[in-house]
Assembly symmetry: C2
Homo-oligomer: 476 residues x 2
């Protein structure tokens, strides 16, 4: 079976490669009624047929989303977006996560989507490098404050939205991404439309139109990576998808074949269309199961180094002053993307495998705070950073590293990371996810609010009304 590399080359997200079997190397049959098949599936799908493990993964995705949006809620990017839109906000219908304001749900979806991505710390569907939760959860969390939505309906809609989003991604990746599209924004709008459409109870024709209205509003060029506009993409995708669902609910007509037609989405935005990725196994496989969460607040390509350094530090109680040198053998792409030797700002630190290794030893962590200006300018970390060296080793994959730490006394410690923590092969545990959530929530919501929100995310499926969870994200 042919093997294919999946690369995440977001400037901020860094990069990671995986070798996984491709779905099929055989020529594709003609598409048939792809949009109609998807719509029929969405309208009929019930949570009853979703395995418990899948539902659990969705709750982990939700928890990670909430933490990331809290962590990003007071960033410059979110502040500026709110300043831009404040004069145009509609009624105070929905929560802005981690903030006091309440705004209309279309703007809430947009702004919460921006917040969820602005730290580049959110979830990743590694097969396509889609960040699934941002568009989907931002749309339906807002919608849940407009109409009563049970936790099980919410979870069902969320799983379905992520399913549509990632299946469309599978169909066009990597050609679509290689052309320059930020796939989170271009597929996210479908995910948001599908999830919102499900909660609105659209009939099949309306769901077809919602998908068509999503098809015609792709958001996001990769050229925007490294700017605030990157995080605008999942936000706008959430808002566009919600808009598509509301228009379809009013029988605003669209194409019946918005996805597969000659001038439809897949043909216009990609040279690859693997239609079976969209339609095969609907209702039996679940893309949310493949979702991953970043343990570290930087590009995935640095994660193995951080993972290994923290493991060595904890195992051998290493401190910076005892270390003569750290040597990293890495895949070429690691240095191409994160080869900055002397970062000056926290943001630049995210592009420096040297800083990452040093701060992992000095602080034993690699969260947002370890990629702050403070951490990057810490003299102890700077000094250790100068003793980090790298060498390219093409026998390694992008998600692997060989670390050698040499102490002042000449003693060597070695570590080979085959799959970093946070990958599908070595996922973050629930405890890891909780710790990440707590770190992101700290100082944003109150100490009493944090465990309550954590609990609501884990119990999502049994909540009678999800607006309780949405309001628990507010600081108002």
């Amino acid at each position: 079976m042919k093997r294919r590399r999946f690369l995440a080359t977001s400037a901020l997200a860094g990069s990671v490669a995986f070798t996984v079997p491709s779905a099929s190397a055989a020529p594709e049959p003609p598409p048939g009624d792809v949009t109609g098949l998807l719509a029929a599936y969405l309208v009929g799908a019930s949570l009853d047929s979703v395995p418990a493990a899948v539902r659990k993964e969705a709750s982990r995705t939700l928890l990670n989303y909430a933490g990331c949006a809290l962590g990003g809620a007071r960033s410059d990017g979110v502040n500026r977006a709110i300043a831009a839109f404040t004069p145009f906000f509609g009624p105070p219908q929905a929560t802005l996560i981690g903030r006091t304001e309440r705004v209309d749900i279309l703007h809430a979806a947009l702004i919460n989507g921006i917040a969820s991505h602005i730290l580049d710390y959110d979830d990743t569907h590694l097969k396509t490098v889609i960040h699934p939760a941002g568009p989907v959860v931002s749309a339906i969390l807002a919608l849940s404050e407009r109409q009563p939505v049970s936790g099980s309906d919410f979870l069902n809609a969320m799983i379905l939205g992520i399913e549509v989003e990632c299946r469309l991604g599978n169909a066009v990746y990597p050609a679509h991404y290689d052309r320059g599209w930020h796939i989170t924004g271009t597929t996210g709008v479908f995910g948001a439309a599908a999830a919102a459409g499900k909660l609105l109870g659209l009939n099949k024709q309306q769901m077809v139109w919602a998908l068509g209205l999503a098809a015609t509003q792709p958001v996001g060029l990769r050229e925007m990576f490294g700017t605030m506009t990157k995080s605008f993409h999942p936000g706008r995708a959430a808002q566009n998808g919600l808009t598509a669902a509301f228009l379809a609910q009013q029988n605003f007509t669209s194409s019946d074949h918005g996805i597969e037609a000659k001038s439809g989405w897949a043909n216009v935005v990609s040279t690859k269309q693997t239609w079976s990725e969209v339609t095969a196994g609907l209702g039996t496989t679940w893309e949310v199961s493949l979702n991953t969460y970043k343990p570290f607040a930087c590009g995935i390509v640095i994660h193995p180094t951080i993972d290994g350094c923290i493991q060595l530090r904890d195992q051998f109680r290493l401190t910076a002053d005892r270390i003569r040198s750290i040597h990293l053998r890495v895949h070429p792409l690691v240095l191409e993307l994160t080869g900055k030797t002397s970062p000056h700002t926290g943001l630049e630190g995210k592009f420096s495998v040297y800083h990452a290794a040093a701060v992992a030893i000095v602080e034993g962590a690699a969260g947002e705070q370890q990629f702050s200006d403070r951490a990057v300018q810490n003299p102890e970390t700077i000094a250790l950073r100068g003793r980090v060296s790298t060498a390219i080793d093409s026998s390694l994959a992008e998600d692997q590293v060989r670390i050698t730490i040499t102490l002042n006394d000449g003693k060597n410690f070695e570590k080979y990371i085959e799959h970093a923590v946070g990958s599908t092969r070595h996922p973050m545990t629930d405890t890891d996810l909780e710790a990440k959530f707590l770190g992101l929530a700290a100082g944003v919501i109150s100490d009493s609010q944090t465990p309550r929100l954590l609990d609501l995310c884990w119990r999502i499926e049994s909540l009678p009304d999800v607006s309780v969870l949405a309001r628990a994200c507010s600081t108002g």
Copy 2:
């Protein structure tokens, strides 16, 4: 010099081809700082340097826009869009054209943009088949109710917005359109961003970011033609452009090279990028000068037939009962796009050159009313339609026709239309445009309001405050 065909193949707009010299057949130099050059030009450009004829053409474009938006204001599509968004409207800042509601300016831009295009009767930049006014005027007319805008500033912003929109269109047409993009939506967002950014007084860096934010939000697949979503495209482009300008005003960062970068707009959405079309002659040529207005409410490809039939009717006082047959020699594309012999609805009538010829004789006109269900089902027109025959003549261009009308007494009348009324070679007169406007406004705004609005459009350049014009479009 190489000659190139420009085709309009909108399902609703019909099609027309023009043979005009291509801008250049030589290879393109590397793009350089296209976005920066455009932004610098936009920030500095003043109305003083715009020739009077160009300003006049812009006022004609404005008048045609107002008429089309009034005519579409009460359509099903606009009604459904308003129903979808009403729960989310912000403060009542701006007029919905031809309606009583006042809404926030972002939604006003969206809905007025839909209204302007839903009859497919709006303006056309024939080189690219862009409908320039919808995105640009919808954005800045709404903005003019949020801040004081003089008529001369409005006209300047409008001319600049159309300039950016059409120049980007020239750069990527026809490859971009052929791939399946509805070029009005994908370039319109730049036009709206540029025009709004000009009125907001953005500095160069902010204008660069506004263009980047526009680049990342293209709207519109051609697959949506024939559905309400087609008219959503110019509306959403207006709203997206306005959004881009407001975000940039708050220093929400974006790429500095959103248009020309490898993963920027032009490379991602097109295989053709003729960069000189964007930057050569800025400030000395004016795309709005090439704008045209439809005299008839149907696809441009039928216009020569209608023009010729009405001329023969008027010249020889022809009536349907005296006519034995009407024979049309046309380019193949005319039958490909409008070959429907037995239309049953007004919308189907727009795709029937047979109905068009018949109704032109029976009613002496071809406005919205001649493409109503009533007109298509009129027995006299149906009978005459059955006596219309066609033949393909490849020696003719798509905008030409040879008509032979044979009377019952055997007498023949012939007419050759080389350039139909409404083309750049044979533009609608001001009187024609006024008559079109009056027909569209009739029954939407009051009889006393109509001449006032007409006057305000003609006098746009001298208005102290454009909000007066916007409010004159309201029925509230």
